[in-house]
Point group: C2
Chain length 265, copies 2
Amino acid sequence: MNSQPIGIFDSGVGGLTVAKGILEALPKESIVYIGDTARVPYGTRGIEIITQFATELVQFLLKHNVKILVAACNTISATCLDKLQENSPVPVIGVIKPAVLEASKTTRNKKVGVIGTRAIVNSKIYEKEIAKLDSEIEVLSQVCPLFVPIAEEGMGNNGIAKLAASQYLDVFNEINIDTLILGCTHYPLLREVIQEVVGIDVTLVDSAHPTARDLKAFLEENNLLNAVGDVTKQFFVTDAPERVREVADVFLGCHVVPALEKVTL
Amino acid sequence: MNSQPIGIFDSGVGGLTVAKGILEALPKESIVYIGDTARVPYGTRGIEIITQFATELVQFLLKHNVKILVAACNTISATCLDKLQENSPVPVIGVIKPAVLEASKTTRNKKVGVIGTRAIVNSKIYEKEIAKLDSEIEVLSQVCPLFVPIAEEGMGNNGIAKLAASQYLDVFNEINIDTLILGCTHYPLLREVIQEVVGIDVTLVDSAHPTARDLKAFLEENNLLNAVGDVTKQFFVTDAPERVREVADVFLGCHVVPALEKVTL
């Protein structure tokens, strides 16, 4: 048993949707979250710089004595998870493999859609990971660049979100997918409009729930769950805490950020 | 007379709308453009960092032997133009004062609207500059955060742009403005939908045309116009040239970027 916190890191606030999933699945665990809002977005940067930034986030969390790390960011998970795992004294879990495993179990007609940022879709990471599990699954990817700013503006249920979803997701009607991976941690904020556009027969797979489930299973198997009642939730960002405070409730759902501190890495 | 190029710098691609205005007003001038796409956006950063980044852009252009510099970025113009002017051996022109002067001449009912990014609107720079020229002018500002990503996606004429414009600009109907300053270099890409929403009686003032006119007047007065026929256009960015190439035509209008090079500052 281990009462040390779970460390969660992201390029910005999107990872808060993963933090929300973890808080729901593991309400007795303490967490420390850091979002690198000063240097967001990572998706447009080169691999070396992303690795450097992510390493700095990991080092910050290790100083907070975490027992496990969650890379709550698709870009970090896609580009440098192996490097982080090699150099970390505690386990590091990403968000891509849990979502891919979930989607491969969910699909019945073996036609899976993936939506993500330009960087994630161009990397073809989901195609590669899905092919490792089941080479018969057909994957269609689509970039949805406006979804992130729409989510960050708290407009995920606005008519603008609906219109953008109609334009981006129309392509999936052609190949009749039955499963759609939300390949960006911001996208759960547009869940309802996405579901409305692709239809209720399509199962949406986000990163938060499969990652939280894998994390819970790992902690259970390794006897790392927190047995002490005392739970803390700490949130750090590298810039604009006042702006983050405005949007954090939307990303975290019913969980309000109790303390949010600006730090320099 | 002087055949050296005009240097134009911006945090990204938005300044290309200013470059377009300059190329139209001064077709016989050579230009060198640099957009700091690796570190965009500047608007969310602190003044010291913005000053440092802008200084690096200026130094890059000075190495290209420019005769005058144009800060084609509202954030740079609002935060550190004085500092850049102090330290530059050649004149430095910003985009805010030319637009403010134009708006103060245009308005008849002395009710002017300003739209911009969160950083620009919060800085109240337009209110301050307008008050210096005419303290009777009433100014109403409105943030339009989705306009930049919409412009960068080349969706300035899309239904999404129209819907966002309706939501953001509705506030101006209340005070009956007759002039609206487009306080961000990206916004000319949404010019038509903005005009449609605020009505044809409202004059739109962008940064590009007043800045180009002021630049032309300055070059004429100081006998710095290019008398040689040989004109060159050079474009540099600090990241993602392939993506910039995709959107550059939209920002530059009919002018295609002939050469676009990635550089490290």
